[in-house]
């Protein structure tokens, strides 16, 4: 560093430690709440230290014993639904985006610009602004209460297409010429050269899209009435609507921990790739 000022270093560490505590405090509260019994939340200050019920709470929520979740399906089933949704959305977005980016960068065909703009438009039309008509379209296609309805309408992605387009354009064109001279067709070039080069980008994008899919809230809320298709994130809200005084906070926080766990593990486990993938979006 430029100069060494010990008090400045100490301040930096203090601010960071304080930041880590403030950021982490809600999780502490959630972890503590998930180990206490519901009677601890009736009156007085909420518990700030671990109770004895941790094992019991997680067992009851995961298996939905005594219908603690107020629905007929267990948390483990809803986590499975969330997992399917996140995986199909992440993989689906990557597959169709890499295909369309390949078509746009490596081919010349009529309406190429038009296709590009159509994809670009999706960026400007998030689900939230066209809630009702999108619901009607999905309903008229008979896709309510199905995995297809949960995932397919969310699979189009302008951002992922742009990312791959950007990356393909940075691949030296001599690679492609060499492949062509060696007699490789477009599909072989894609499979044997472009795809292996894109592995890092795909992995980074996967982290971001998995989290996006797992954390969907409004969309599953709209199109599922059949409890078999509920996701773990949306059931939390149902528990919240029990009315003040009856809210089962220990059950909610147990469910909350379960809903956070998979995406947090993905982020922390693939931290380097995730950070890289995120920062690339700006470019």
């Amino acid at each position: 560093m430029v100069e060494n000022r010990p008090w400045l270093t100490v301040t930096r560490h203090l601010v960071l430690i304080l930041g880590v505590f403030i950021i982490g405090f809600p999780i502490w509260i959630a972890l503590v709440a998930s180990t206490n019994s519901s009677s601890e939340f009736v009156s007085g200050l909420m518990p700030l230290w671990f109770g004895e019920e941790g094992f019991g709470n997680f067992r009851r929520v995961l298996a939905n014993e005594e219908r603690v979740l107020g629905v007929s399906v267990s948390a483990s089933w809803m986590m499975w639904n969330s997992f399917i949704m996140a995986m199909v959305i992440a993989v689906g977005k990557i597959v169709i985006s890499i295909m369309s980016a390949y078509a746009i960068v490596y081919f010349r065909f009529p309406f190429r610009k038009t296709c590009f703009w159509l994809i670009f438009l999706t960026l400007m039309l998030p689900v939230e602004v066209r809630i009702l008509p999108t619901y009607e379209v999905v309903a008229s296609l008979g896709m309510l209460n199905s995995y297809a309805g949960l995932t397919i309408p969310l699979i189009a992605s302008a951002t992922a297409t742009f990312l791959f387009r950007q990356f393909f354009m940075s691949v030296p064109s001599s690679l492609m010429e060499a492949a062509r001279i060696d007699g490789a067709g477009p599909l072989k070039f894609f499979k044997d050269i472009l795809l292996p080069l894109s592995v890092n980008n795909i992995a980074a994008l996967f982290v971001i899209l998995f989290i996006y899919g797992w954390n969907q809230y409004l969309w599953p809320l709209l199109i599922t009435t059949d409890e078999d298709y509920y996701t773990i994130v949306m059931v939390i809200k149902r528990l919240m609507s029990a009315g003040e005084g009856n809210i089962p906070w220990n059950i909610i926080m147990t469910t909350t921990i379960l809903a956070m766990l998979p995406p947090v593990i993905v982020v922390l486990g693939m931290q380097k790739l995730f950070v890289k993938g995120l920062i690339e979006q700006e470019k």
């Binding site: 430029v2 100069e3 301040t11 560490h13 601010v15 960071l16 930041g19 950021i23 809600p26 509260i29 939340f41 009156s43 200050l45 909420m46 597959v95 295909m99 369309s100 078509a103 960068v105 490596y106 081919f107 010349r108 159509l118 994809i119 438009l121 999706t122 960026l123 400007m124 039309l125 998030p126 939230e128 602004v129 066209r130 809630i131 009702l132 008509p133 999905v138 699979i155 064109s173 492609m176 477009p186 954390n215 809230y217 409004l218 994130v233 809200k237 919240m240 909610i252 926080m253 909350t256 809903a259 956070m260 995406p263 947090v264 982020v267 922390l268 995120l278 920062i279 700006e282 470019k283």
Partner: protein, 293 residues
């Protein structure tokens, strides 16, 4: 661009593009068109009568004080979320940029809330702020402040802002940190040799160089606060007390799905689309500008 090296297939590219285009047309363009069309209609809730009314839905909306309240709430909410999230993130990033020991540990401990769903963030803070047993009102009580977000609209807004900003800090932090690390050390060293103090260096050199990142984040945060915080409101305040936290997206949902006012909801959707388009154009203008540097 790859103009000198392209394949000359005529059919293959359309096969490659087909899935993306079909989904875009069916689930994006078509519903958007529907919204536009419905915004010119008045339909009763049972679908018995439909009347084409030109801009009546829009005029009704723009004359409705409830709608303007919602506009105001959304702007206050978004500005607060963006400001709180960005200021805290910048502070943490500026500190983390210079620490040598434990840098990666801090980074790990600060980025994980990115993975938390907005609705989950809302539920966590809703419990902590619970007026009867939450830990924060308990502490505030020690200072003689009586917290109740069920009746006080400012306090309800505070909770949803904190929950939404908390989740966004990690995202902002990562971008600010990347921006800070891209600043050439020689610039800062030169200023240090000239005798500029660390604070002066930050404000006069680092901060201006960071402004493109800050602008990018501002747009991203506003888009986030506008459109992705539905869950925050829906799981906690339900737009209340009164309509003090009823954001535009929450109102579209409520008017469309609960109130079954199809024309009114569609008109609101159209206005929201205009807002998103504007924000996207602003964002891309900025990206283009940056490329020219």
């Amino acid at each position: 661009m790859h103009d000198n090296a392209v394949f000359s297939h005529k059919v293959l590219p359309f096969f490659l593009l087909a899935p993306q285009l079909i989904i875009t047309l069916v689930f994006f363009i078509w519903p958007a068109g529907q919204a536009l069309y419905q915004s010119f209609l008045i339909e009763d809730a049972f679908g018995f009568s439909v009347e084409f009314v030109w801009f009546e839905n829009f005029i009704y909306l723009l004359e409705d004080p409830e709608y303007w309240n919602s506009v105001r709430v959304t702007f206050v909410f978004s500005a607060m979320v963006a400001l709180v999230g960005m200021i805290l993130a910048l502070l943490l990033a500026a500190m983390a940029d210079r620490v040598v020991k434990g840098a990666s540990a801090y980074k790990t401990l600060l980025i994980w809330p990115y993975a938390v769903a907005p609705v989950v963030a809302a539920v966590l803070w809703w419990l902590m702020f619970n007026p009867s047993m939450g830990v924060l009102p308990f502490w505030m009580d020690a200072f003689g402040y009586d917290w109740n977000h069920y009746v006080n609209s400012g306090e309800a807004m505070t909770v949803v802002v904190i929950a939404s900003a908390w989740k966004q800090i990690s995202y902002n932090f990562l971008f600010f940190l990347a921006g800070l690390q891209a600043i050439p050390r020689s610039l800062i060293e030169a200023a240090a040799i000239d005798g500029a103090s660390p604070f002066k260096r930050f404000w006069q050199i680092v901060f201006p160089l960071l402004s493109p990142t800050a602008f990018f984040l501002l747009v991203v945060n506003i888009v986030y606060a506008f459109f992705e915080t539905f869950g925050v409101i829906h799981a906690t305040t339900l737009g209340g007390p009164g309509s003090s936290t009823k954001t535009l997206v929450y109102k579209v949902y409520e008017d469309g799905f609960v109130g079954l006012d199809l024309g009114g909801s569609a008109a609101q959707s159209v206005i929201l689309m205009i807002i998103v388009i504007t924000l996207t154009v602003v964002q891309f203008r900025y990206v283009e500008k940056k490329v020219q540097y």
